[in-house]
């Protein structure tokens, strides 16, 4: 087969144009991706399951629509991958856990249906840390994902498969989820764009819940314009998710064309302190220079409660996880232990056999902080600090239109480097969890490489429901880098 399109660099806009203009067919593009997956993904290990039948049926529909000259959606013919925490009807959905091995949900997540309604082709389900708990993908029960842009290093987590598959050209775009940094950090590690929409912007229906007040679904793409297209498809209210917002979504793709000149960009001093890798600092400063050159005003700001974000997060996220994961009990779906003589033994043995160590650790911590006598000291306290962290951002956004800072303090690390000490691993989230707790939007944009050639991402944070401004800033950083 002649391979006119370079899948590794193929963008969403290019893929759609090639299909719509008849330079390739959706079916051919889909098969080319499956062929590439068959050769490369044995090494990357980004896919847990392929949905070939569903993909080809959808491709056929798109090709028929192209031929008929009908209206085509904004994602027509675009092959995408879906993080395995999102339900896909009739297709195995494991959340990276043994407890859901072989589980086929009876319904689709709203986000998946929206992508397909816009013409996207779902290639398969992407590997992730078990129940999205992790920062390196080493917690997947099905083995870790490799970082295609940094051999020997972790792809980040928990949406490691979503980031790596886009980086390796194994799909054009993907869906991930972010509870404390799980989209932004792997995007930074794998040299792709990752967007965390405002809490409530994208329906969570069909997302296997980790921490319901924090979980968000967002896209991974090869550039910022593609992310805007994806978000435009995903955004909007859903009667099946009571926390989805009725605030009207902005027109992200149209807004992207506006210049950034005149925007006030906040630089939070707490994100540039000791412990920040020198090469990352230099790359972020270069991005800030580029924004200044395009007419942005750089403003020093303070987010004084930043150092409390990680401990606050690990109380709230684990408390909610302990409640959410109580549904895995061997009764209605998932693994049931063969040793189930009594109901109590069935619960305990099914959970003991089905959950991995990090999930158990978080369930135990979450149960502890909610237990009698400790609720006020831990959970209530953390909810109060969460309010302070959110007020930090609300105050800052009176002075600035967006915030620019690092995604992580250090570049991608090696496998096994942080697995022995959970606190070390949790500190990986130090620059990402505050935005998660505050519910604001954020994104990671590739902005350079370390002296060892490891990818660096810059984080752009935006006001609640102002993804448009955030994306404009991200696009300006991207454009300046391409021009240099």
């Amino acid at each position: 087969m002649s391979n006119a399109l370079n899948l590794e660099t193929l963008t969403l806009a290019e893929a759609r144009a090639a299909v719509v203009e008849g330079r390739t067919s959706a079916a051919a593009l889909t098969m080319e991706h499956y062929e590439r997956i068959a050769t490369i993904d044995t090494h990357v290990h980004s896919y847990l399951a392929l949905t070939q039948e569903r993909a080809l049926a959808q491709a056929e529909k798109i090709d028929a629509a192209v031929k008929a000259g009908g209206q085509l959606g904004p994602l027509a013919g675009v092959p995408v991958g879906i993080k395995d925490v999102l339900a896909t009807r009739g297709t195995v959905t494991t959340a990276g856990s043994k407890i859901l091995e072989g589980y086929k949900p009876p319904y689709d997540a709203t986000a998946v249906l929206k992508l397909e309604a816009a013409g996207a082709i779902v290639l398969g389900k992407l590997n992730c840390d078990e129940f999205a708990m992790g920062s390196s993908n080493e917690n997947s029960a099905y083995g870790p994902v490799m970082n295609p842009k940094a051999p020997g290093h972790v792809p980040g987590g928990s949406s490691g498969g979503s980031a790596a598959s886009v980086a390796a050209g194994l799909c054009v775009a993907s869906l991930g989820t972010d509870t404390g940094g799980s989209i932004r950090q792997p995007a930074a590690f794998c040299d792709v764009v990752g967007v965390l929409p405002t809490y409530g912007r994208v329906s969570r229906f069909g997302l296997i819940a980790f921490a319901s007040s924090l979980d968000r679904i967002g896209p991974f793409t090869k550039n910022v314009a593609d992310a805007a297209t994806m978000l435009e498809v995903l955004a909007g209210p859903d009667p099946l998710d009571a926390t989805s917002s009725t605030t009207a979504p902005q027109s992200y793709t149209a807004e992207l064309a506006k210049p950034v000149s005149g925007l006030r960009i906040g630089i939070p001093e707490e994100y540039f302190g000791e412990g920040l890798n020198d090469d990352i600092r230099a790359a972020i400063e270069k991005s800030l220079d580029a924004l200044r050159e395009q007419g942005c005003e750089l403003v020093k700001i303070s987010l004084p409660h930043t150092k409390y974000a990680v401990p606050t997060y690990y109380v709230i996220a684990t408390a909610e996880a302990s409640a959410n994961l109580s549904r895995f009990d061997g009764v209605r779906f998932g693994h049931r232990s063969a040793h189930s003589e009594t109901l109590s033994a069935m619960y305990k043995n099914s959970r003991e056999e089905g959950f991995g160590p990090e999930v158990k650790r978080r369930i135990l911590l979450g149960t502890y902080v909610l237990s009698a006598g400790y609720y006020d000291a831990y959970y209530r306290k953390a909810q109060q600090v969460r309010a302070l962290l959110t007020q930090d951002f609300l105050a800052a956004f009176h002075k600035v239109d967006a915030i620019v800072c690092p995604v992580t303090p250090s570049p991608p690390f090696k496998f096994g480097e942080k697995t022995d000490d959970p606190v070390q691993m949790y500190l990986e989230d130090i620059f990402s969890v505050a935005a998660s707790l505050a519910g604001i939007c954020g994104m990671s944009v590739p902005c350079g490489y370390t002296r060892d050639n490891l990818p660096i991402g810059v984080q752009v944070l935006g006001k609640h429901f102002d993804e448009a401004t955030m994306l404009r800033v991200g696009a300006a950083i991207e454009a300046a880098r391409k021009a240099s």
Binding site: K104, A242, T243, S245, F333, H335, L343, Q383
Partner: protein, 115 residues
């Protein structure tokens, strides 16, 4: 900082027995190999979490989710509830297809009542 020190002592330090108790509440049956590591890890994490005690939050209202802070929703709590009307749900056969043990109508579990 004598105060902080007291607070840390008060909130940190879980024993094997504490972890067993919590595991029981969470319906987890830890193995003898898992238990010491969990005790070590939980103490390490709780020590770190104790940093929150440095903050005086007496006057701060707790925040469950951001929607209530922004006050953008009709109920003010961050929720938009759909009308309470009967609508089609997932088909029973499709749900039961995923059950570990079923007679097609109900989920089967081990005997609950001893006699």
């Amino acid at each position: 900082m004598a105060d902080t020190h007291t607070a840390e002592n008060q909130t940190a330090g879980v024993s094997e027995q504490d972890v067993r108790h919590v595991a029981n509440l969470a319906n987890l049956e830890l193995t003898d190999q898992e238990l010491p590591r969990m005790v070590r890890d939980l103490n390490s994490i709780l020590n770190y979490i104790a940093e929150l005690n440095q903050l005086d939050t007496a006057a701060v209202a707790p925040m469950a989710q951001v929607g209530e802070m922004l006050g953008l929703t009709p109920d003010g709590a961050g929720n938009t509830l759909r009308p309470d009307v009967v609508r089609p749900s997932v088909d029973r056969a499709a749900v039961m297809a995923a059950a570990p043990e079923t007679d097609g109508r109900f989920f089967k579990v081990p005997k609950v009542i001893e006699r």
